[in-house]
């Protein structure tokens, strides 16, 4: 059907093939338990990656998400354990803080015309630094809400668990998909990524959209932070180190072009799952040394991007089989 959906289908196919290959080697990977773990263990990454997808679709990049997650966990922990606030209030405060943080970064990107790479790099330093100023030490969170959330899950046939945080991630993905493809805001994001000048001339509120995109990304990083704190019942300034790179890789593997304007939120979901698959595969293998682990992760990343790239370039939308003019230089 829709030609534009082809890369998405391709990514899904790659995931299924990779999963089947893994299962053939380790049959116990085919269980609801492993699938449930995929969702739970990657929930925070998935949520952050949704935000990253919007940022990348708009033609930017957000290097601060990992640090914002880490900062959020510490903020939540200090608010609950030191200030004695109820977790829900702590969550609300955290989301307000992270949203404001994103808004400021977006405003700096738009009004100061500093590239997003640099603004969010500074944001990354600031958020990590802020977290370690709050508390360099990790803080365990003890609260009945935390215990009850971690105890509540839907038991899947076969012993797998669909946890609350997994459901939060799925909800975020669904909302993200709706936001990207079914709202005006979504179309503005794609417009910005397509061509900012044109978008401005067509009446897209560039400033507002840019600020909102980074606000969204930081807020989602804040939610990811909440999820991470639920996941570990703790706040730690060094948590979620380097998650921004995992998120970027997930977005790209999911078929979104880093230059902006093309891609799908749903693709990102597959990207996240693929990364989870790699991790799980390595654990099941259990023979890789520390260095081979890195090499294999890098190699598989390369492989997926390559496959994705090949499928994508075969499926680039175009009239009568030709690529769009914009990409003329890609040919031959």
């Amino acid at each position: 059907m829709n030609r534009a959906l082809r890369p998405l289908l391709a990514t899904t196919a790659i995931f299924l093939l990779a999963y089947i290959a893994a299962v053939l080697q380790y049959p116990s990977m085919l269980s609801t338990r492993v699938l449930g773990n995929f969702l739970t263990d990657n929930a925070f990454l998935g949520i952050a990656a949704v935000g990253m997808t919007f940022v990348i679709l708009s033609g930017g990049i957000d290097l601060s998400v990992g640090a914002v997650i880490g900062f959020s966990t510490v903020l939540i922990a200090t608010l609950i354990m030191w200030a004695g606030l109820h977790p829900l209030i702590a969550f609300a405060i955290t989301l307000a803080v992270t949203a404001g943080f994103g808004a400021v970064m977006g405003a700096a990107i738009h009004y100061l015309k500093v590239p997003s790479f640099i603004v969010t790099l500074a944001g990354m330093f600031l958020a990590r630094g802020g977290a370690s100023v709050l508390s360099p030490d990790s803080i365990g969170i003890k609260h009945e809400l935390y215990t009850s959330i971690s105890r509540s899950y839907i038991l899947l046939p076969g012993g797998g668990r669909l946890t609350v945080i997994a459901m939060i991630m799925l909800a975020v993905f669904i909302l993200g998909i709706v936001l990207a493809h079914r709202t005006r805001f979504g179309s503005y994001v794609y417009a910005l990524g397509g061509n900012e000048t044109s978008a401005a001339l067509m009446g897209v509120p560039v400033a507002r959209t840019t600020i909102l995109v980074y606000t969204l990304s930081s807020t989602l990083a804040g939610i990811a932070g909440i999820v991470f704190s639920l996941y570990t019942s703790a706040g730690y300034s060094l948590s979620a180190l380097g998650v921004e790179l995992d998120a970027i890789a997930a977005v790209v593997i999911g078929g979104t072009l880093l230059t902006g304007g093309y891609g799908f939120v749903a693709g990102t979901f597959i990207g996240v799952m693929l990364q989870g698959l790699v991790q799980t595969y390595i654990v099941f293998d259990g023979t890789l040394s520390s260095w081979w682990t890195k090499i294999v992760i890098g190699g598989l990343l390369f492989l997926f991007i390559l496959l994705q790239r090949l499928v994508f370039s075969a499926a680039v939308p175009g009239k009568k089989g030709f690529g769009p003019r914009k990409k003329a230089f890609r040919k031959s």
């Binding site: 829709n2 030609r3 534009a4 709706v178 079914r182 709202t183 005006r184 979504g186 179309s187 503005y188 794609y190 417009a191 990524g193 397509g194 061509n195 000048t197 044109s198 978008a199 401005a200 001339l201 067509m202 009446g203 897209v204 509120p205 560039v206 304007g261 093309y262 939308p317 175009g318 009239k319 009568k320 089989g321 030709f322 769009p324 003019r325 914009k326 003329a328 040919k331 031959s332």
Partner: protein
């Protein structure tokens, strides 16, 4: 028709300064409801700048905008759109990555519960496109359609947005005759509805065909606003240029002009899915015109010749010797030059200076180590800028700040500086003012006299006729006809382009 009604949109004493340069200097301009108001001027006169100020894309440094008699301040294009001003900015400025439907409705999609109703958009967009005679899949990406279609989509969008004023900045540059006719029909309807229409073009015949009044700018200054009925074409040109146009055509009829030995030959050159194999020889001192409808494969043919796309069959010889051309670098080494049709995407290095833009191909040919020294660069850039009358404050300014026509000349200068033996010009006069247009035609003739072989693709048949020794016609990605001598008239070319039953002459 226009009557003496009050202006709907007015600019008073507009000043716009870029750096040291006064792009607009106290310009007054007014469009009345129910009139088509042409805005004319040379390349770089300030037309687009005035439009951008009128529609909120730029802020003026002086003067005011008046809408329906009340001063307004548009802080961005969205403001202006909200006030019923729809605009087609110069060069297609929509989103190639989004569907046609979304481009048409961006920012005003019908929503329910905050969700965009995609079905409604698609149906409405399809219907809208049909009124422009286009039966296309509106869900496909805009970028997958030809420039002409994109242009029409831009026009349709602007028309939909314009409740009071429609602004068209060179909307016809990449349209062919039929499409221009369609556009004029639309304009007539809107005019009847009482809209004010601002129309910018370099085609004077179109101005006389649709416009009621004309305002002429020169060098950022207002020269005057007149009723068109009181003017002749020559007078308009004189107002624009400040002098009469010198039509320096060569004396002997072009078709008979002397031509030398064969310079380049393409034998059976083709590529599956792109262009059917064609054979063509060009002689020294010969201009071969290429005619065809939009999308007929003219550009594709040129890309193949220049190695932008690699041919999968056929041979190329230069001066009798076979050469291999699999990429543009090899083409340049073989003495080819190519002014591409998409200036912004394939031609201009926006951030680089005028000087660097001119010498870049020569430098690429010389290689990494034989660097042109600064004074050599200045000398070359100066020479060709003078030859082609490139108007730039200085040659160190970024070329993106030049007006469109001047950018086009910069690319031409780039290839002339390279001293090519075979030059391909793809739509060299698109978007170029009458003065420069004549100059480019003159240049083409001069280059021919200097012994170059030229292949010129153009949609303007008068122009093709004016300089071609031979004309080849493309249709459906095939070279279908070759016209010589007395056959080179607009009428015959049109027949060859259009007539499917016309048995194609064997192409040699």
């Amino acid at each position: 028709m226009a009557g003496e009604s009050h202006p709907v949109l007015e600019a008073r004493g507009i000043v716009k300064i870029f750096g040291q340069h006064r792009a607009l200097d106290g310009v007054d301009f007014a469009v009345r409801p129910g009139e088509v108001h042409a805005l004319l001027g040379e390349n770089g006169a300030g037309k687009s700048t005035l439009i951008k100020i009128l529609t909120g894309a730029y802020q003026p440094d002086g003067g005011e905008i008046v809408l329906d008699g009340a001063p307004v301040r548009f802080t961005d294009p969205l403001n202006a759109q909200g006030s019923g001003i729809g605009t087609v900015y110069q060069e297609v400025n929509l989103l190639p990555n989004r569907s046609v439907a979304e481009n048409l409705f961006l920012g005003r999609q019908p929503t329910r519960f905050g969700l965009v109703q995609r079905h409604a958009i698609v149906t409405q967009a399809t219907a809208l496109m049909a009124t422009y005679g286009l039966d296309i899949d509106v869900r496909a990406e805009l970028g997958s359609y030809s420039v002409a279609v994109q242009q029409i989509v831009a026009i349709a969008r602007a028309v939909e947005l314009s409740g009071k004023v429609l602004v068209l900045d060179e909307p016809t540059a990449s349209l062919d005759r039929n499409e221009v006719e369609k556009l004029f029909e639309v304009i007539a309807k809107l005019k009847a509805r009482g809209l004010g229409i601002i129309f910018i073009t370099h085609f004077l015949d179109q101005v006389f065909a649709v416009a009621d009044r004309v305002t002429i700018l020169r060098n950022g200054q207002l020269i005057g606003t007149r009723d068109l009925s009181t003017l002749t074409a020559t007078e308009v040109v004189r107002m624009m240029l400040g002098k009469d146009l010198a039509y320096g055509h060569s004396s002997l009829p072009v078709a008979e002009a002397a031509k030398g030995p064969v310079k380049v030959t393409f034998t059976g050159l083709g590529r599956a899915d792109r262009v059917a194999p064609f054979t063509l020889s060009l002689h020294e001192g010969e201009v071969v015109g290429v005619a065809g409808l939009l999308g007929s494969g003219r550009t594709e043919m040129a890309r193949l010749m220049f190695g932008v796309d690699t041919a999968d069959e056929g041979d190329i010889t230069v001066a009798g010797k076979p050469v291999k051309i699999r990429n543009p670098a090899q083409a340049v080494m073989a003495g080819f030059g190519f002014c591409p049709e998409d200036r912004k995407l394939d031609g201009i290095f926006g951030e680089l200076s005028v000087r660097e833009n001119i010498i870049i191909a020569l430098q690429a040919k010389l290689g990494w180590f034989r660097a042109l020294q600064r004074d050599e660069q200045d000398e070359i850039a100066g020479r060709y800028a003078d030859d082609l009358d490139i108007r730039a404050a200085n040659h160190d300014m970024p070329v993106k700040l030049l007006s469109g026509g001047n950018q086009q000349k910069v690319i031409l200068a780039r290839w002339l500086a390279n001293d090519p033996t075979f030059l391909i010009l793809d739509e060299p006069t698109r978007g170029i003012d009458v003065g420069a247009h004549a100059e480019i035609v003159r240049t083409i003739n001069r280059l021919r006299e200097e012994g170059l072989a030229l292949l010129v693709i153009s949609s303007e048949l008068d122009e093709v006729v004016a300089y071609s020794n031979r004309v080849v016609v493309m249709r459906d990605r095939q070279m279908v006809a070759e016209l010589h001598g007395a056959d080179i008239t607009p009428a015959v070319i049109v027949a060859a382009i259009a007539d499917n039953t016309l048995t194609p002459e064997p192409v040699t």
